[in-house]
């Protein structure tokens, strides 16, 4: 009997399911960053707003990269449903803490898929996901750097505006190229 699955599909079927879940998680993350950007915009934190608009776009790009990887290799992708996006935040610090938690969750999820790739001997997907391992390291570094600012700067009154202006430099520091 011919191996028709392998003829059509380079990715292991179980890994395909995990990648589709990852697509949903990236979409959820992109939408969550958009909500954070909106909150910052409404509260006059223009640099933080810009930062989160860019984060939202980046997460969507991450999603699309997986989307194309699946379709290019014979799999089937499912456009994700996104729901339950939180728009209520008490402070900018809470936003960055939530953002860091979100990035940690994505990192864990990527690592779990790689462990599964190894179990299923899906080396192609593992190789593809290595880019995400490095990317997630940078994303976490960026969020941690932002949170460190709250330890250094008093955010009362003009301090918050000063901190907001520093946010635009964080990404440049984390990604110097």
């Amino acid at each position: 009997m011919k191996d028709l699955v392998r003829q059509n599909l380079l990715i292991h079927v179980d890994i395909l399911d995990l990648l589709n879940k990852q697509i949903k998680q990236e979409a959820q993350s992109s939408a969550a960053y958009l909500a954070m950007a909106s909150w910052c915009d409404h509260n006059g934190l223009v640099y933080s707003a810009e930062f989160f608009y860019e984060q939202s776009t980046e997460e969507r790009e991450h999603m699309m990269k997986i989307f194309h990887f699946i379709n290019d290799n014979g799999g089937t992708t499912y456009s994700p449903e996104v729901s339950n996006i939180n728009h209520d935040f008490a402070s900018l610090e809470e936003i960055f803490e939530t953002a860091l938690d979100q990035e940690i969750a994505i990192t864990k999820s990527i690592h779990n898929i790689i462990y599964e790739c190894r179990n299923k001997r899906d080396l192609t997907t593992e190789n593809f996901l290595q880019w995400y391992v490095k990317e997630q390291m940078e994303e976490e570094q960026t969020m941690r750097r932002a949170l460190e600012l709250f330890d250094l700067i008093n955010t009362e009154n003009v301090g918050l505006r000063f901190l907001d202006e520093r946010i635009k430099e964080i990404r440049e520091e984390a990604n110097p190229e």
């Binding site: 011919k2 191996d3 699955v5 392998r6 599909l9 079927v13 399911d17 589709n20 089937t76 499912y78």
Partner: protein
């Protein structure tokens, strides 16, 4: 035609010449490409079977369209459970075949 897996009500097979999969639904046999089979599998796995068992799904039926709406099926709870076992069994068998092929 090679039989891949047979559940209580349904049977999955593949044709090496046409490189297509077939599911025998009893009264009708439907031809699938791999993409269509994966989409069918996804549709089945998206069904909230809990709702069938706790009474939230009062009629106990699911309407499932296959292969770009070429076919329309109405399945009851037992058939859905059987189809889930069919696709799981079929993909497990195909994985074993992949190892020995």
């Amino acid at each position: 035609m090679n039989t891949i897996y047979t559940s209580k009500y349904f049977a999955a097979s593949q044709c090496d010449n046409s490189r297509r999969f077939y599911i025998d639904f009893g009264h009708k046999t439907v031809k699938f490409s791999l993409c269509q089979l994966l989409a069918f599998r996804h549709r089945l796995k998206s069904i909230d079977i809990e709702q069938h068992l706790n009474g939230e799904n009062t009629h106990g039926l699911e309407v499932v369209s296959l292969c770009n709406r070429e076919h329309l099926f109405v399945f009851n709870t037992l058939e859905i459970l059987d189809l889930l076992s069919l696709v799981d069994g079929a993909f497990a068998m195909m994985e074993i075949n992949s190892v020995i092929a």
